[in-house]
Structure formats: structure tokens, C-alpha cells
């Protein structure tokens, strides 16, 4: 069973991502939600999660900055991050992976894409 953190300024998209994770076969124990990078960092002060899914374009603190700051959070050491975003340029992919993200999914996305990119990161076969 996994605890996940879903970071997106859209509550609709957070619910869709959660549903996609369940459809992909993840047995979610706890789902922590945050509307931007600052809220996500704050949540990680109190929560341990096994996986983080994060948008890029968000107010207050965007997803790239959040991933950069994640390395300083003790609770998040080694936790894989997958970006889920409308930003599809190679430039954004390179920035995200350089910042420490382990996966990158472009919106709109299918449940199969979530399965393919996320399951290997939590030790499951896609």
C-alpha cells in the first residue's frame, strides 16, 4: 500500500490523477493533496509518502522549484517524483529531470501512460 502526494492547483486534476493511480493498480493507503509547491513542502513536514505526482504550472511555487527544494526535505529523501503537466517541451523535460524528477507525463494522459511511468518507480511491473 502506498502513500502518495498529488500536487496540482486544480482539485479536479488531483482527483483525476488519484483515480488514474488506482486504475493503474496502486493500492493507495493515503492520498495527500497540495495546491502548489509551498503547500506540498509544508505537507511533507508532517507526512511520509512513497510517491509524488506534481504539476509544473502552479501559482505561488511551481513544480520545478518544488522539485529543486525537495532535496532539502528529510522526509522526502529518495521519494520518486513524476511530473504531470501540459508543458510538453523538451526544455521542460530536461529541467524537470535535472531537478530530480524520475518521470514525466504530458497532459492529456491515458491511464496506460500513468501505469507505464509510475508503477516501476514503486517496484511494480507496468
Amino acid at each position: 500500500m502506498e502513500n502518495v502526494l498529488i500536487v496540482d492547483d486544480s482539485s479536479v486534476m488531483r482527483k483525476i490523477v488519484e483515480r488514474s493511480l488506482r486504475q493503474a493498480g496502486l493500492d493507495l493507503k493515503k492520498v495527500v493533496e497540495a495546491g502548489n509547491g509551498v503547500e506540498a513542502l509544508s505537507a511533507l513536514a508532517n507526512e511520509h509518502v512513497d510517491l509524488i505526482l506534481c504539476d509544473i504550472n502552479m501559482p505561488v511555487m511551481d513544480g520545478l522549484e518544488f522539485v529543486r527544494q525537495l532535496s532539502t526535505v528529510e522526509n522526502a529523501k529518495g521519494v520518486p517524483v513524476v511530473m504531470i503537466t501540459t508543458e510538453g517541451s523538451e526544455n521542460h523535460v530536461v529541467q524537470a529531470l535535472s531537478a530530480g524528477a524520475k518521470g514525466y507525463i504530458r497532459k492529456p494522459f491515458t491511464p496506460d501512460q500513468v501505469k507505464e511511468h509510475v508503477l516501476p518507480l514503486v517496484g511494480k511491473k507496468s
Binding site: D9, S10, S11, V12, M13, K15, I16, N57, M58, P59, T85, T86, E87, G88, S89, E90, N91, H92, R106, K107, P108, F109, T110
Partner: protein, 161 residues
């Protein structure tokens, strides 16, 4: 394709309308599980009651709007979330904003030469039909009307000159 030519000129010369329509079709097919097609040219479009907009900044500069009637907006939210979850006006607005956001991103990603040179704003959603819209982006305008569940949805790309 070279970026030497201005994007407004490219929009005209390359005919971006089919690209915009494909971007809309893909978002609806993948996220809502339904196929939509462009409306007939004589399709009447009343004053739409929900308008979502996403700004484009950088070399591709302008605004993309997505508008539809209230019942259509609610149906979009239900298709995205399911009827048991899509139960509030806030979620309807949120769903429409995300649809517009994905259309803008999908459209941008289909254009050659914009890699990393165009950024999207977070979406804004206007509820109500009685408003005036004046964009400072007075350049090329591309609009398509498509049919979703028998009702028209309008998608407009207004580029800065």
C-alpha cells in the same frame, strides 16, 4: 520550420486551424472518452455562459479561450470526474479551466519551433454571458466551433501581432 517568420504570419500561412481542432479533439477523447468534431459552418452559437482562458507568453503570445453553455460545462465536469464527485459550481469551473489548459498545452506542443519558447498561464474562468472581452492581443485570430453532446463549444486562439 524556421522561427524567423513571425508566429502570427505562420499561423496564417500554415493554417493552424486543423492543429487547434486536433488539439481539442484529443483532449476530449483522452480525458472525457468522447469524440467531437467541428460543427457545420452554419451552426448557431448563442452567448456562451462559461469561458475559460489560458494566456500564452513568449514567442507564441496571446490567449486561448474555451467557452460553452452552463449545461455543457457541467457535463464536461461529470465526464471528467463522475457524477458523484462533480457536484459543485467550483468543480465545474475548475474542470473547464483544466480542459482549456490542456487544449492550450496540446496545441502548443504540436507546433514546431516553439520548444521552450512559450509559457502558459494558470487558467481563469468567467461564469456568465454578459461581459465584454477585449484582448490586447490584436493579431491573427483562429476560432473553431465543435459539437459536444449536441451542444456547441467554441475555442478561440487570439495571437499577439
Amino acid at each position: 520550420m524556421s522561427m524567423d517568420t513571425s508566429l502570427t504570419t505562420r499561423a496564417h500561412e500554415e493554417n493552424w486551424l486543423p492543429i487547434l481542432e486536433l488539439a481539442v479533439e484529443e483532449v476530449f477523447e483522452i480525458m472525457l472518452g468522447c469524440r467531437i468534431k467541428p460543427a457545420d459552418k452554419d451552426q448557431p452559437v448563442a452567448n456562451q455562459e462559461f469561458t475559460a482562458m489560458v494566456g500564452l507568453a513568449g514567442e507564441l503570445c496571446g490567449i486561448i479561450t474555451f467557452s460553452c453553455m452552463r449545461a455543457t460545462a457541467r457535463e464536461v465536469a461529470i465526464r471528467m470526474l463522475g457524477p458523484e464527485i462533480a457536484d459543485s459550481p467550483e468543480q465545474t469551473s475548475d474542470a473547464l479551466g483544466e480542459i482549456c489548459n490542456m487544449i492550450a498545452g496540446n496545441f502548443k506542443n504540436k507546433l514546431s519551433g516553439t520548444d521552450g519558447k512559450c509559457m502558459l498561464s494558470v487558467p481563469t474562468v468567467i461564469e456568465g454571458a454578459e461581459y465584454s472581452f477585449r484582448s490586447m492581443a490584436e493579431g491573427e485570430s483562429i476560432e473553431t466551433v465543435m459539437i459536444f453532446e449536441g451542444s456547441p463549444i467554441s475555442v478561440n486562439l487570439q495571437l499577439h501581432s
